[in-house]
Each structure stands twice: as C-alpha cells, then as structure tokens.
C-alpha cells in the first residue's frame, strides 16, 4: 500500500514540474484517442503542439492566433484563480464575458457614428462594470444568504446567453443589416475598434492588457496583504475571521475582480477578433479558462504559460481538424483530460508517498 505523509515545505520544483508531467500524460492518452479515431497519433500531436509554432505552412497564421486566443483565456483565468485560491468558486465567467461584451457594445453603439478617442476607454470600463455586475449577483447572494455560488453563477451563464440572443436580434441588431441577427461590426469604426497593433503579430489592446494584468496581480498577490488575505481565507476561513477579515468582503472582492476581468476580456474579444455581437459570440473561453487557472497552478505566471499552451491546443486543434479531419470536440476531450491529470498529480505535491506493507494508517497520532 501507499502511505501518505504531508510535506513540511511546499516544493517549488514539484509545483512547477507537475503541470508538465500532466501535459505529457495527456499527450499520451490523447495520442491513444486519436489512434482510436483512426488517425496517426504522432502526426496529430505534432500538428497540435509543434506545427502552429514551427511549421512554415501554418506558423504565419497560427502564431498571431495563439496570442489572440490566449489573451481572453489568461484574463479570465487570472480572475478565476484569485477566487479559487480563496475557495470561492465563480464558474460563471462565460456569462460575465458575455455581459461585459454586451455592455461595452451598448456604450460603443450608443455613440455611433460619433468618433472620439474617449469612447474606447469608456467601453473598456463598461466591459469591466458589465462583467463585475453579473458576478456580483452570486457574490451578494452568497454573502447575504450563503446561497451556493457555483450553481448561481452557472445559472447566470444560461441567462446571459439568452440575453445575448435577445440583444442580437433585438436592441443591438444592425439597422442596416437587412434583418439578419447581429450588431454593427465595431471594427469598422475607429473609435470602437480594437485593431492589430503590429501587423502580423496578433497583438491587440486585449493582449497588452492581459500581460499587464498578469504582472500587476503577480506583484500584488506576492507582496500585498491582499494576496495574504485571499490565501488565508482559502486555507482556513475561521483563521481569516480570527484575523479580523470580513467574509462578505472577500467574497465580493473575489467575484468582482474575476467578473471585471472576464467582462473586459469579452469587450476586447467583441471589438477585436469577433467584431460584432452575434448569437454565437461566446465560444466557451469562460469554461476553458477554468482549466487554464488550474494548469497555471492558480499562479499568475503559471496562468500566463498555461493560457498560451491552451491557446496552442485550440489553434493546433483547428490545424489538425483541417489536415486530418480530427473533430473539434476531440480537442475539448483533450483539454478535459489535461485537467484530470493535473488535479490527480497534485497528490504528490501535497504529500510524500512511500510504499509500505501497511494496510491503513490512521490520521491522528
């Protein structure tokens, strides 16, 4: 039998290396999956992980796409990770992403066709407020009535999706769109557009914003009492209240930060890659970001790399779909597997394993 002993110190090396091990396990199992689907596993893995970066055929398209897809993932995951550290589970980022986009679209379109350089910053603000507003609903219910935040934030995703559908055929519909659902394309108006800043790089304001956010939260979580409070609340809520922290304050803070970041991610997506509000505007970044947050070990720097990796699987998935006909859903399975391995491998980060003949060992003593 295997015996578990809690580790005295947190091992930085293990914390960093285990996600890589999880990725390797996922590649192996993913390879088996592709093989079952009748595809060449080695070619598929190469198409997903190598070609987007290195192949001459694809990298011109793929490299910028990685940044474009990584930026919302990083922003959302960063926000979620703060809550997850505190054991506060906002899993409705998809809805907050939608609401951020909707509010900023309302602002942008309200000024149409006025051109003014303050419109874009105002939309950024609107995105944050929209996302935070949607996230504060479960936060208030949790702190006032102790309502389960997981279920409420998730239900709000479905409600946000309906709101999105309603808006794209209703109030935000393009009056010149000959009756088709969907709003005006915000990319067509300089004041509301989030263009590629360096030709062929994929870098838009959202990418820059997400990198700055990583740096900011890395510094804050490490050195400021904010990071300490979040960690304390997550580890021992009673010790947090003994320290004088208000539970309500932590819950509201975590939800509004993650909501604002998800909302602003929606705003940048709307004004950049997506261009317009449509019924299928949201593509699941809010859920994939959960995987990114864990893959990044809830650590800003980790999330940065995890976001890039996850974006790589998206782009590589597209390429493998194009080249080998691997269904898009296979990539989702792939990402799900990654999270399984990652969560399971945590065991060796938290405990030292040793093999004994021991049958079972009691907890106390």
């Amino acid at each position: 039998m295997i015996k578990l002993t809690p580790r005295d110190h947190q091992s930085k090396l293990l914390t960093a290396i285990t996600p890589i091990i999880a990725v390797i396990f996922t590649m192996i199992c993913g390879g088996v999956l592709f093989w079952i689907l009748g595809k060449n596993p080695f070619e598929a893995i190469k198409l997903i992980f190598w070609d987007p970066l290195m192949s001459e055929t694809f990298s011109d398209y793929a490299r910028p796409q990685i940044l474009i897809k990584a930026s919302p993932l990083i922003l959302i995951a960063l926000g979620l990770s703060i809550g997850f550290r505190a054991n506060i589970w906002n899993i409705g980022a998809e809805g907050q992403f939608i609401m951020g986009a909707l509010i900023s679209a309302c602002i942008g379109l309200a000024f149409y066709p006025l051109e003014n350089r303050f419109i874009f910053p105002l939309m950024i603000l609107g995105g944050m407020v929209g996302g935070a507003f949607w996230a504060i609903i479960p936060a208030i219910l949790k702190s006032r009535f102790n309502t389960n935040e997981i279920l409420v934030s998730l239900m709000l995703v479905y409600i946000a999706e309906q709101a999105l559908a309603s808006a794209s055929i209703g109030i935000l519909r393009n009056p010149e769109g000959s009756g088709f659902p969907g709003s005006r394309n915000l990319n067509h108006y300089p004041s509301t557009s989030n263009p590629e800043l360096i030709e062929g790089s994929g870098i838009h304001w959202g990418v820059i914003f997400s990198f700055l956010a990583i740096w900011f939260f890395y510094y804050l979580l490490k050195n400021h009492k904010f990071g300490f409070q979040i960690k304390l609340f997550g580890d021992a809520p009673r010790a947090a209240s003994f320290a004088g922290l208000k539970t309500e304050y932590i819950i509201l803070l975590c939800f509004s930060i993650s909501g604002a970041l998800a909302g602003v991610a929606g705003m940048f997506e709307l004004t950049g890659p997506a261009g317009a509000i449509t019924i299928d505007f949201n593509v699941g970044y809010g859920f994939t970001a959960i995987i990114v947050a864990f893959l990044g070990r809830l650590n800003p720097v980790g999330i940065f790399f995890a976001g890039l990796l996850m974006a790589l699987t998206y782009v590589g998935g597209e390429i493998s779909q194009f080249m080998l006909g691997i269904p898009a859903a296979a990539i989702q399975v792939f990402q799900g597997m990654l999270l399984f391995f990652l969560l399971s491998i945590d065991l060796i980060v938290k405990f030292r394993l040793s093999f004994t003949k021991q049958n079972f060992i009691s907890r106390k003593d």
């Binding site: 589970w89 239900m155 479905y158 209703g170 995987i291 269904p327 399975v333 990402q335 799900g336 399984f340």
Partner: protein, 310 residues
C-alpha cells in the same frame, strides 16, 4: 394569443416527462452527497448518458438496451471522478468541473455521426384501469416505463437511506468520515460505489433526455439540466421525496414557458427561456434564507476529502 389552447391535462402530462431526466440525475446526486461527496460532474455524466443511450439504441433498435447503455456510460464516466477524488484526493469541486468539461467534449466526439438520426420509439405503458380514469388517467397513468421507474427509484432510495443498515452507514460516512473510519467502515469504498450509483442515474437521466424527452441527439443538449439537478438536491434539503416536488416544479415551469412561447405571448422569447434558470436561482436563495443548518440537512462532511495519513 390564445390561452385556451393550453390544455392543463397535456401540461401535466408533459411536465412529468420534462421533469424525469432531472429527477433521475438529482436522485443519484442526492445519494452521492449523502455519502459526503459533492460531484459537480452531473452535467457531464448526463450528456454521456444521453449519447451512449442514443447511439446504442439506434444501433440495436431497442430503447431498453439504450437505457442500460446510458446508465453504464454515466457510471463509467463517474469512475474517473471516483478515482480522482477518492484515491488521488483531488479537490472535488475542480474534479467535478473537469468531469463536466470532459463529458461535454467526449459526448460531442461520440455523437458526431448521430446528429439528425431518430431513435426507436418507446411504447407507453398504460397502467390497467388507472389509465382509463378520465383526465387523471391521461395525466398520470399514460406514461412510458421510465417515468414510473424514476418514482420507484425515489421510493427505493428513501427506503435504502432510512430503513436499511447500509443506508445508515452511507449517511454516517457522509456525516463524519473520521468517525466512520474509526469504527471500521471503509469510507473510500462506500463513497466509491455511491459515486458510481450517482453516475448511473445521471446517465439514465441523460438517456431519457435523448431517447424520450427530445428525442434526438444534439451537441450540448443537456443545456444545464445537470446543474439544475444539483440545485434541486439543495432545494430538497437532501430528502428524496422533496426531489419529486423540486423536479416537477421545474418541469412545470419549463413546459409552461414553452407553451407560452408556442401561443406567441407578447413576451420576449429569450425572457421566457430564461425563466427555468432564473427560478432555479430564486429557489436556491429561498432555501438558503432559512439559515439554520440543522434544518437544511446538508451532510457534515460534504465536499471534504477523506485523508488517511500518518
């Protein structure tokens, strides 16, 4: 607009059908939570059940074999969760989310070629005599086997938990796993099998969705049903009989808003489609306003990992 075209008999009849998938999934989750495990992967297990049931019944031509496959599919997916949380001591919330994400992807992958197909029909099981009662017969006794089976399972779970020794052990494990371990019960084994049961029932619920309720296969067709099942467990205060109430209220709202959409009420369709989710939130809040934890009945060790360390 024609309110007269809404027929109460049909509504009640349809609401039972709409409620059944959720009732199955919620019943499974109730037992899992009674054993102290929070499995947020219900949505994932349901959709795997939906596609397994659909695919197998299309291939075999038998709905019943399809339902067995649905239960097996859900249970198999839950094994992943059971291993992760019981042996690798992974966080239950995160593992449940992973299960849902994985399940949705896997179901889409498996169901790729089944979109647009039609499953074999299942015959109605008219209960003798009862089904001939005017109005009520049509409402309550004119259903397929799996509607009745879901109610029988509620009875079974209730009996199991309150009247059998094993049921008591399951509750004890969920209430305080350290005590249960000290007396000599295997917390891990009991939780493992509870999770499997929960998975099988979530699978059955998913199967009912794709084989009877809809009946066809579309990607992401559970549309939050698994999450609503989780909410209904909270709503029921972990009491089996109240699950029926919760599931049927929810089914009623779903059917009612669909009927209102159909007759073209002057309300935004999106607003009507939101109602089931909004009502779920309201129900959750109403349940939690009652602050006394004792009356809420949540198992003491719910969601906590049982760690045997030296």
């Amino acid at each position: 607009m024609d309110f007269a075209s809404i027929d109460p008999t049909t509504i009640i009849y349809n609401l039972m059908i709409a409620a059944t998938p959720i009732l199955y999934a919620a019943l499974g989750e109730l037992l899992v939570e009674k054993a102290g495990v929070l499995n947020l992967g219900v949505e994932g297990m349901m959709i795997i059940g939906a596609i397994c049931g659909f695919a197998i019944s299309v291939e075999t031509g038998s709905s019943y074999i399809g339902f067995i496959a649905a239960a097996c599919g859900g249970a198999m997916l839950s094994v992943i969760f059971a291993v992760m949380t019981q042996y690798f001591l992974a966080n239950q919330v995160a593992s449940g989310l992973a299960l849902t994400l994985f399940g949705l992807g896997l179901a889409a992958l498996l169901g790729h070629s089944y979109t647009g197909q039609v499953p074999p029909q299942i015959s109605k099981l008219d209960l003798p005599i009862l089904s001939t009662i005017p109005v009520f017969g049509k409402m309550f006794f004119h259903h397929d086997f799996f509607v009745y089976f879901s109610l029988m399972l509620v009875l079974f779970v209730w009996y199991f938990l309150t009247k059998t020794r094993l049921g008591l052990v399951v509750q004890a494990v969920g209430e305080n796993h350290d005590s249960a371990h000290a007396i000599g019960y295997s917390v891990t084994t009991i939780r493992f099998f509870s999770i499997l049961f929960g998975g099988a029932l979530a699978g059955l619920g998913g199967g009912y969705l794709s084989l009877i309720r809809v009946p066809q296969w579309t990607e992401g067709m559970t549309a939050g049903a698994g999450w609503i099942a989780l909410a209904i467990v909270v709503f029921s205060s972990w009491r089996p009989w109240r699950l029926i109430l919760g599931a049927y209220i929810f089914g009623g709202i779903t059917i009612l808003q669909l009927n209102l959409q159909a007759i073209g009420v002057n309300i935004d369709i999106a607003l009507l489609s939101m109602t089931p989710y909004a009502i779920t939130i309201v129900a959750l809040v109403l349940m939690s306003v009652n602050k006394s934890k004792k009356s809420l009945g949540a198992p003491g060790s719910l969601g906590k990992s049982f760690i045997k360390v030296s």
